[in-house]
Symmetry: D2
Subunit: 340 residues, 4 copies
């Protein structure tokens, strides 16, 4: 395989982001991009060097030259596209979540397994150098056996109500990243979830049946306990931290600011507020995850973030939803899935 | 009142600490100290300038010259001493917890109310400059309405099994400080508690029916959510942090190290580990709390930390115990007490 | 002008770095690269998409399609190439220093002025976001009138003796960046220099008549004082900081580490050591400076870092050399140059 | 010797500070305090438990019960009091500087040597835990052989013109602490000094022939170079830092703030400005230095900061003055003194 040929399905914000990252990887060529809305797409595609634009993603799947696809379309289309792509023998990079239902996700994983294609899920934070360093430090045993995990995950601004409606809610849309990070940094599976949620920021979110503030307690297979705090609105910027505490110490990453410059005046000591936007904060991580996927396609290296990781995070999200409703701790229903 | 005359009941570690702080306050004289075990006590008392040593605390209560007492005896003796002291018209500084039962504590508060004496509870962290600054910042509205509170409270080393037995367990002995801080920094009451506990550090603690690791979720009257993480063993030192996140921002204190010196070598960047011992970390806070109590006795200034604060923390500890047993969220039983 | 066409003269480490950055700028095409040693060059050039490779830089200057050149050849070739390029009407990006003699540099500037081409000098640190933020903060008046400037500039490892020989010495090779930063962050010219130098790291450096450790005091036109400390060997990494202190406060940047992860263990608090290599530390700055040059060529925007800035830094280096020899403070000889 | 009996000569700000620290040391009794101005002194003396107040310091020197004296009177009285006290066999704690002339100081040291009394000089910063940790770290060899030393020493506010007049100027009054710290942290003597000074803050200071801003380069016996930056006005507080850079790394202390609380808002990240006043910043250090002196008197332990240290700092100040006048580097005239 000389150059990996790629098709991108979905040319929204995240699809275009991936495309713009991929064009800088020498071993890759984006052959075709598809989107239902192709207006203006041609011009952008030309500018970054993508030859073909289509409104039918089957043009990509039917192209025998294309090795792999990036699925960046709305979540409710993922399962059928994964099915078609897997059957067409294309390796798959799929944005998170794989689907809105763990049943659908299990089905997707089954097809992927049967067809033998690769499936990477878009948990970009695993590719952030700071989160990765926390993971590596734990894995090297520097902090001993993990006992407590604390994840802070706060958005700078709630999404518009329109988005909330089709987002699957805070657990599936936002906290799913944190569920993945919890598993990633501890190396242990979550077995039970308890949630306290609240609607403190925007009543419109509550009206849609969603919450905007949450504390989630996780119990891990190894006995460790974890807590995630989520808020839809941290006015000071995008707040993303993790701390792992263990028998031999603790490890934590810090937030990133635009610069590290410190100012002293008669009023106090100042630094710039946090980076405000996920595309800015995780710029390098998005680049890294496409690199890693391409490497895996090219050289059959192991995936850092597989379909199973997507399912695990969704199972936690499902339990979190159930806990919020029942006000009880809820066990992860992993058995059935393991039988698949 | 020219000089406040003080009696100290209980000359263990904490009783001696208070005594050594009080002797440096010009407006105070420690007239008498009592302890069941008076051996060696006389020498120490002489050295710091306390004239009278007795094995019977009634010698203090019956001394009409004495204005106030510090109760530093074992917790199971607090109620009866408070009762006697209040009836004798002495103002009371009582170490935490007031008792091992919220019923006893309510009784103590009733007597105190009836007799009109002052009762300050030994929640020393309220007097730590860093925690106080967090409280003040929240109170001034800088972070807006509190929405999330995160408390880290980890001891450097578990106490000996012998101590655990009579300690009342992690909630009453250790986390009770955190319950108080949660109320102190938010200015809101806790209405519900959920606990996940584990025995990850020392099996001997589990054998005694106690836990050494806990995550506690708090729900506040104002709608905010809180989480406390407790560990009995942080090998890197005494880890004590709080963060309040609100509609306008967040505020957090940092840990203290012996010095702030930073070393760069070929191996990395190093700083000294955290202060390791509560008497070292809260040295100034212990001094401040005695100052504040004396000021209140002298000038009738309001207490920063009253008997009711002691009861509230104990109610939370009681709910935490119940939650651990039932694996359910538990509401605080405040109604009855409010009727008292 | 649709796309800027570029020629690169000199395909050593820095020439290739610029080339690899430029290929990612959509509005630019690198048409030709020249180097005396063309072996292996073709393969690399192909890989990044440069069509023509030549051993004669006149092929670039004689190509009427080429708009601008990057001069990345050895310093002693700069003047003649600048002369030829300017006469050929090419805009010029020239690596620092412009020459080893302020006389030659003045001649280069004269030609550039006469021909009207642009000349940007490769002071990459002006394009580093942290240094730029310090500059901006001072310029906005946040710290008032600058009174003290402190620059720390320490390399992780001395260059090989072979390099030292042809480098022009610590002042011209290394500290010249700091002279530029001193002018950049204060917005004021240097009028006097005093140097204390020492050979503390590698005797071989002293044998070559050079120093490896220096403190340089600068006096500025506005009355401010500055100090630069240079070392050829900071075992903990590439240490690059600046602080500007003024009538209303101070502003300083921090170093960069590979990640911001903090580890607590029984031995203390650890962070990774500093980034170790200038190509790593200033990766983004190198990208930014080529962007800025291209923008200036395309849209005639003002240069951030002009030939005159190169000369000023060289005048300071010249005075530093004189101060080291005479052990006296030395005034900058700016008059003659201003007459040019 | 059961209890050390102390006399304090001079009851100004610093004399009272020492007195208030000493009364908390159990092994010491302040028997008498003297001051030319005794009004209101009696009341304060009573309050802290000093029995005798006198306007004649000879009452102290003639009291055979008194073991040691603290000389806290104006600098121009030091020599004669030291002479008298030494002849009376009293151990001496003397505030800095010992005198305004290195000749007088040499004379004082001669008398002290002849009489065999102890002489501690009030360089309080040696007793600050952060500076001491830097010193200890260097001494333990952690940073290897010192090569560069950087001291930042900035006052929050210039003293009133009246004080400047009798202060001896910036070098003797303010920077003398920094000269001592330079020797203390490196463990090497200063051999040459070069100064650039300026009057940038208050013209009144310039009118008095003094400067308010200075950069001082030090050359050490071991070959290391040092730089001190002084300003009389850092609007953001009392800025006191030192960094020692050596063959194996670097070590630096940080400033202290009232609390370490960090606030995040929509405007950025804030911390309280630095401690603003030397009595606040060095509170513990002042306590420690009196402790150390008393320990030395009681148990004949070695002094941390001797008369010779006072002289060395004054020799550097003298050279600094000469350098400012001559605009030349000036060698320390240590020879003569060593002959004494």
């Amino acid at each position: 395989m000389e150059k990996v040929k790629i098709g991108i399905i979905g040319a929204g914000r995240i699809g275009r982001l991936h495309a713009e990252n991929i064009v800088h990887i020498p071993q890759v060529e984006i052959k075709t991009i598809s989107d239902l809305f192709v207006e203006n797409l041609q011009e952008w595609a030309n500018k970054i060097g993508i030859q073909n634009v289509t409104s039918d993603y089957n043009d990509i799947l039917n192209d025998s030259e294309i090795d792999a696809v990036f699925i960046c379309s709305p979540t409710n289309t993922h399962l059928s596209i994964i099915r078609d792509a897997a059957k067409a023998g294309k390796h798959i990079f799929c944005e998170k979540p794989i689907s809105f239902s763990t049943e659908e996700t299990k089905e997707a994983l089954k097809i992927v397994k049967e067809t033998g294609v690769k499936l990477q899920v878009g948990f970009n934070r695993r590719f952030d150098k700071h989160f990765k360093k926390v993971h590596d430090t734990v894995k090297e045993g520097v902090v001993g056996e993990p006992q407590l995990v604390k994840i802070t995950s706060r958005d700078p601004e709630p999404p518009p109500a329109e988005y909330i409606k089709s987002s699957g809610g805070l657990f599936v849309d936002m906290a799913i990243h944190d569920y993945d990070i919890a598993r990633y940094v501890t190396g242990s599976e979550v077995v039970e979830v308890y949630v306290q949620g609240a609607n403190l920021i925007d009543p419109a979110i509550g009206d849609l049946g969603d919450i905007d503030t949450a504390l989630t307690i996780l119990k891990f297979e190894n006995g460790a306990l974890g807590v995630i705090d989520n808020s839809r609105k941290a006015v000071y910027g995008y707040d993303q931290r993790v701390e792992v505490f263990g028998s031999k110490g603790s490890v934590a990453n810090q937030n990133e600011q635009p610069t590290n410059v410190v100012v002293n005046t008669v009023d106090g000591i100042y630094q710039e507020k946090l980076k405000n936007f996920f595309l800015d904060r995780y710029k390098d991580a998005y680049l890294e995850e496409t690199h890693a996927f391409i490497q895996s396609v090219l050289y059959d290296t192991p995936l850092v973030c597989k379909g199973e990781d997507g399912l695990e995070a969704e199972l936690i999200a499902e339990a979190a939803k159930a806990s919020l409703l029942t006000k009880q701790p809820v066990k992860i229903k992993r058995e059935e899935y393991k039988l698949v």
